[in-house]
Symmetry: C2
Subunit: 235 residues, 2 copies
């Protein structure tokens, strides 16, 4: 937790917040904070700055905060991700939030196991929890928008062309394709496949929607490795 | 497991191997393989190719293999990593092997918790197990060399200058430094710090050994995210 992220409900006055629960435990156990300490804080969806611990008790802490710094810029990116297995989903959500992806679309694909759609980690509360961890890690305050598309074909045929319009549309896909471009200067729509990759039909459909296949070399990377690798290369 | 990695002890003849244990279970449970199936195989430290399942039983499988393809090239890189916490160490070892890092040095740092050095995941067998998972993921056969340096100062003062000689020496470190270079065409020595970062004394010592600080933007990334991000940007 490199940033203590405060929510609207934590504020008891414009410059005062009261903490309980996970973040309070973290202050006690990991930061070993003491009354009077100064911490980096941010307000969810708002500014960042510093907070002074006015009191720190076992079950409650009170902070005086001064928020004056905007959060870091997001990447000009819409990321489409074939739904990863639940354990990986949690980490990927953190990574997506930490790296500054503003829009994530979790998409079905032929090689996504049906059981993955049943995971409790797909509830809005569970998704938000992982995103908040990513924001706290990277020092950002703005939650990415996450949407869920359980039907590949209608989404890719009917709505993806509008999402990809006026962007550089890319599909990360191993094979004999051009290498993923570097340091692009324009908005990107990037689709990353499931374990085992997109099937050819899906690559064709994504291409029709305006996304061209690109590769990162002959090594097959896990989704949680491919996401930071592709983003660091693109931006 | 995108590559079935065979070890010398699995071979019963030049072109025959017998499998048991984890990899056999994986063939049964994940691949749902059947007798006659063809699989991608590689020999640890050697060539890659294909294998045909001659028989597949509950406790044993026999393959006829044909190995004719060299493994993918490694990156021209020596990676120094402040020892991560045990859970992250496992994943980082997989990532390092998957991305083609040939040499990894796990190093102490002021912000590495002493308890991390006690983990059973640092035994040679445990390290090898994670590296093999990374090779199987990425389709490579050559284990990275991993060495462990529990004393920062003597290593950085006495041995790092020779490691870094004739390479581009870099320290990943947040702050007001030049951005990490892209697409470099020469060997690199890259040091990545612990959670919380290197302390200034350590950055100075690394600099004296020939490594210059570079940054990846204002977002603080977890080590498991920073490693693929830095490597994808550098190479």
């Amino acid at each position: 937790m490199n940033l203590l992220l405060l929510e609207d409900a934590d504020f008891v006055a414009d410059d005062r917040a009261v903490l309980r629960g996970r973040r309070l435990r973290h202050l006690h156990e990991v930061h070993q904070a003491e009354s009077g300490d100064s911490l980096r804080v941010g307000r969810l969806g708002g500014l960042m700055g510093s907070g002074t611990l006015l009191r720190l008790e076992a079950d409650e802490a009170e902070l005086r905060v001064r928020l004056d710094t905007p959060p870091p810029a997001k990447l000009p990116l819409t990321l489409l991700l074939a739904l990863p297995r639940p354990k990986m989903l949690k980490r990927v959500l953190q990574t997506v939030a930490a790296m500054g992806v503003p829009r994530l679309i979790l998409l079905n694909s032929y090689r996504v196991e049906k059981s993955f759609w049943q995971t409790p980690f797909l509830t809005p509360e569970a998704i938000r929890e992982q995103l908040v961890l990513g924001l706290e890690q990277a020092r950002d305050t703005v939650l990415p928008e996450v949407s869920i598309e359980k039907r590949f074909k209608p989404f890719v045929e009917d709505r993806l062309p509008a999402v990809a319009e006026d962007t550089l549309g890319l599909v990360g896909h191993p094979g004999n394709h051009p290498p993923c471009p570097r340091a692009v200067e324009r908005p990107v729509t990037l689709a990353i496949g499931p374990e085992g990759g997109w099937i050819p039909y899906e690559v064709d459909k994504l291409r029709e929607a305006g996304l061209q296949p690109v590769q990162l070399g002959e090594r097959i990377l896990r989704v949680e490795t491919a996401v930071p690798a592709l983003l660091a290369r693109l931006f």
